[in-house]
């Protein structure tokens, strides 16, 4: 069965993550520091002016907390890994196997993401639920809707990273492109500032792009700012973007492979 080999690739990717226990421990302890800094920043920046933002303090705290929980999962570095493998020529190790490059990388990202959920996001979530009183917890259908949107958001994030990584087929300097896109996506996906806080015309522009599906929309779902009709609309839009980005990624990779030149041994 074709899915079987990709499942094994995902499993191997998960096992690779567990091979570096120190890395897991360091991440586990450093992410709460990022969270804590956000709490001080939010309370300092928004308290007293909340009527202008449309968010309450618990909503904002939850917004950034959930944003970083998702960031832990989505930030698996597929773009860097793909770009490096193309630039160094190590991509040959995948190409000489009977696997689809796109699916191989996706399975790898999924395996890594699963590990990051287990080791980073879930523990962080429990810590938040226990120690941060103003963190909004949802246990009803909203949670399920959030999970669905986040899952699609994860794959959208992967597809964007895949395309950016594959840019290495065409440009010899890839790390700058990766860095700039990552920063831009952080900004345009609502991870740093909720999109509704941008000026109107910027907000309208950003809602036309796929990046909001990675963080902004799922988090809005969590904090109760999207109703049933909004969920259906978000679901359809997210799936449409996923298909568009997936096809674009396949096209970029196929075009790149045609011009792939690995000089030397």
């Amino acid at each position: 069965m074709t899915a079987g080999k990709y499942f094994t690739i995902a499993k191997m990717s998960f096992l690779r993550l567990t091979a570096y226990k120190t890395d897991i421990v360091i991440h586990f302890f450093t992410y709460p520091v990022v969270f804590a800094s956000f709490f001080f920043f939010i309370t300092g920046a928004f308290e007293g002016k909340l009527h202008q933002t449309g968010y309450t303090i618990p909503q904002l705290l939850t917004y950034y907390s959930v944003g970083w929980l998702l960031r832990m999962i989505n930030h698996h570095g597929a773009d860097i890994a793909i770009g490096q493998s193309i630039l160094t020529g190590d991509i040959v190790n995948i190409l000489v196997k009977p696997v689809h490059h796109h699916h191989y990388r996706m399975a790898e990202a999924a395996g890594k993401a699963f590990g990051r959920i287990i080791f980073y996001s879930l523990p962080a979530f429990f810590l938040l639920s226990i120690f941060v009183k103003r963190f909004i917890l949802v246990w009803d259908a909203t949670l399920l809707k959030f999970l669905v949107l986040s899952l699609i958001g994860f794959f959208i994030s992967f597809e964007i990273q895949y395309i950016i990584g594959c840019a290495a087929f065409f440009f010899t300097v890839n790390h700058q492109i990766i860095w700039i896109t990552d920063m831009t996506i952080r900004l345009m996906s609502g991870l740093i500032i909720p999109l509704s806080l941008f000026p109107d015309f910027v907000n309208r522009l950003l809602t036309l792009l796929p990046f909001q599906m990675i963080y902004y929309i799922p988090i809005q779902m969590w904090i109760g700012k999207i109703d049933a009709a909004g969920f259906s609309h978000a679901l359809v839009t997210a799936l449409t973007w996923l298909i568009i980005l997936h096809l674009t990624g396949r096209w970029v990779c196929a075009s790149g492979l045609k011009r792939l030149a690995i000089f030397g041994g």
């Binding site: 570096y20 190790n93 690995i262 000089f263």
Partner: protein, 345 residues
């Protein structure tokens, strides 16, 4: 049907040429100088099933491009390539099931995980039936002597151990053809010897076609009877080593030693004019000669007369067999005293 069938294969690279100086760099940014570098120029050859063929040539000859086209990761710009009856690039996913590839400089094993995990992943990727996998796995573990390393993470293995595991990994799915690109790079002489024995054994037992490229010409020489000699994207020679040596290497080397140091000086005066003294040390000397101007028959006749003279006291002489190294040096770095190889083509 041949295992590898290549007809008029062509590959060009677009290379950006840097201009000199500040303004050159600025103008090159907007209007880069693109030059076309021809890596392979209409080459054709065939490799039969079960053969072991060595691909040799100097740096930049096009060896790497050819191997990458043959394994399906590089798109040719012209010509036809059929390996195991398939087009490597357009049928890549199906095609790579039939071949095994080893790039000595790039390990396909998962760095952080035990070797056995990588093998298990390959079993799933190649969809090898369990029973077949069990047998092949047992055979490879025994042949390559891998049992004590299987549970170790790849990063903890030595270079030689890693290469053995890499080649075993490439053989797990029982490929028809094995492509080895620099399989012994970085290995010491003992590890190289063991590895070559194993590859030779596998070729004999499983009739796997082996296509090998290496900068260490002794590797190619020991494993293969046939070779493809590539230079600047063209095939200079394709066939048996002995024929290549006969065709290109005219200069032969004769070593002579006398019992006493003084006698060698006397011998120098007696050597035929077609011979050139390459070195003279103590009681030993090395002579070189062009076998077109001095035939082996004549040489044997001269030697016989010299050896029969008791006053010369010759105790040892032998004619060196030209190696692949000699062949490459003769073609690509001809000695001014030696007729250029190109004249003999």
């Amino acid at each position: 049907m041949p295992a590898i069938d290549v007809v008029s294969l062509r590959k060009d690279y677009r290379v950006v040429r840097r201009r000199k100086g500040f303004w050159g760099a600025v103008s090159g940014f907007f209007r880069p100088d693109i030059v076309i570098r021809k890596a392979l120029r209409d080459i054709s050859f065939q490799v039969e099933r079960g053969e072991m063929v060595g691909l040799v040539g100097p740096n930049g000859a096009g060896k790497s491009s050819l191997v990458k086209i043959l394994v399906g990761i590089l798109k040719p710009d012209g010509g036809q390539v059929r390996v195991s009856g398939m087009d490597p690039f357009s049928q890549r996913q199906e095609y790579v099931r039939r071949i095994g590839v080893v790039f000595g400089q790039r390990s396909p094993l998962w760095w952080d995980l035990p070797v056995s995990d990588s093998f298990e992943l390959l079993r799933r990727i190649y969809k090898i039936p369990r029973e077949e996998y069990r047998q092949t796995h047992a055979y490879l573990v025994e042949t390559f002597g891998l049992s004590q390393w299987l549970s170790q993470p790849v990063r903890m293995l030595s270079l030689g151990q890693k290469l053995r595991c890499t080649i075993a990994a490439a053989m797990l799915h029982n490929p028809d053809i094995l492509f080895l690109d620099e399989p012994t790079i970085g290995l010491d002489i003992l590890a190289t010897d063991q590895l070559l024995s194993i590859i030779g054994k596998m070729n004999a037992e499983r009739e796997t076609t082996v296509f090998i490229t290496s900068h260490d010409l002794t590797v190619v020489e020991r494993l293969c009877r046939k070779m493809i000699l590539l230079n600047e994207g063209e095939i200079l020679f394709h066939g048996h080593f002995t024929n290549a040596i006969r065709r290109f290497v005219r200069r032969r080397r004769l070593r002579i030693a006398t019992n006493e140091r003084e006698k060698i000086q006397e011998l120098v005066r007696l050597i035929p004019p077609q011979c050139h003294v390459e070195s003279l040390e103590g009681n030993r000397m090395i002579l070189t000669f062009d076998q077109e101007t001095l035939s082996l028959d004549d040489l044997v006749r001269i030697l016989r007369s010299l050896v029969s003279r008791e006053d010369l006291d010759i105790y040892e002489f032998y004619l060196e067999k030209p190696s692949l190294n000699d062949l490459i040096l003769t073609i690509f770095n001809p000695d001014p005293n030696t007729p250029p190889a190109g004249n003999q083509r």
